[in-house]
Point group: C2
Chain length 233, copies 2
């Protein structure tokens, strides 16, 4: 192993790592992402950092201001609603494909994930909750038989999570999400695409209403102020 930061193959992965850090709210909306900081935090070269930043800018996870830098995108309410509506369109449309493409083994795995989520609601970090939730939906949309639809859904999910708190704002929201997951599995077992579709729409609306409720103050601090995140990392 050489002294250089990280191996070549992981270059692409850096964008994902930074994206995940943003999802975990290590960097908050409106905050500037200084290249030097990232360079150090992720033990990467400046070039790799910039590549990753560019990629995230294309994906609209972050925003690029020439000669100023990159910052976590602050999504206004209008865009927030637009993302929500588009997500509903796509994710409900995936329901028939999911019902058609699902098999017993996958239902079993989904059920296991739903149970793990139930447990994480009681005793688990937000990161665990978020990851299990992602895994659940990922697995579900993976069987819809349309890879492009799947990618598009995921792109939109990432984008909305990038900025706003979707790591549930209230305990009630968490419980609702949990209940929805089990209800979805029920619908899958019954082969009821219409019901699944309705549940998905409800799921999205509930989640994002919670998010909207908490108006996001425009944190126009030009300097990043270390780790002020009050949540656990």
């Amino acid at each position: 192993m050489t002294t250089r930061p990280i191996r070549h193959r992981e270059k692409r992965a850096l964008a994902s790592e930074i994206a995940q850090a943003i999802h975990m709210r290590a960097y908050r909306p409106g905050e500037w992402l200084r290249q030097i900081d990232l360079e150090e935090a992720f033990k990467a070269t400046r070039f790799d950092v910039r590549s990753a930043l560019d990629e995230l800018a294309v994906r609209k996870t972050i925003e690029h201001v020439p000669n100023r830098g990159y910052r976590v995108a602050e999504i206004d309410l209008k865009t927030q609603r637009a993302i929500r509506d588009t997500r509903i369109i796509l994710e409900t449309a995936a329901a028939p494909g999911i019902v058609a493409g699902i098999d017993a083994a996958t239902i079993a795995r989904l059920s296991e994930l739903a149970d793990r989520f139930s447990q994480a609601v009681l005793s688990g970090t937000r990161i665990e909750q978020s990851e299990i939730n992602s895994a659940f939906h990922h697995l579900m949309y993976a069987v819809c038989g349309n890879s492009v639809l799947e990618e598009t859904i995921w792109g939109l999910r990432d984008r909305s999570r990038g900025s706003s708190v979707t790591v549930w704002s209230s305990h009630q929201a968490l419980l609702n999400s949990d209940r929805d997951h089990h209800a979805m599995i029920e619908a899958l077992r019954a082969g009821d695409a219409t019901r699944l579709s309705g549940l998905i729409a409800h799921h999205i609306v509930k989640d994002m209403l919670e998010t909207e409720a908490r108006a996001q103050p425009s944190t126009e601090t030009s300097q990043s102020r270390g780790n002020e995140v009050s949540d656990e990392v």
Copy 2:
């Protein structure tokens, strides 16, 4: 003006320029995009070329193979159908918003574009046809009231056009497209979202069936062979 290739501001635009070149079939699916060639063809620096290429790779317009380079994505039939289905989901879902958000002035402009397209069908280059067609749909989806939906639709359209010939394969397909445009305007005038939705679905299916019909041979030529494009530039 300095001697340097191109001004700073146009850096972002280079990706679009290359994308357009691909749409116009200056580079064919499977063909390798050599950095040196692009550097010269677009009078840009190597760095800018690579940035643009990276961006297009993220957008899935082109494909990146490490240590081999970038090439125009060859879309297999399965992906082609996936894109088509997803487009139908999104574009039909936009219909209600379009009907709700349209005004007389926009209808007039759409009508003008539809007329221009009719004319271009008779006497116009493929590029003109393609551009007018783009303008028509762009304008239509722009009034749907959901900017994210609009972007997503456009991303998918670009992706499907990047690889396959959607500059209509047959004259009949052109005539069909033309007829559809006018029918859409009719539906808009009547404020009939359901009819518009149906027309859009029909429009997409027809277009992409034409495309599918012509199986694309896997052009695995490692060397680009100058300008073999038989079409007018």
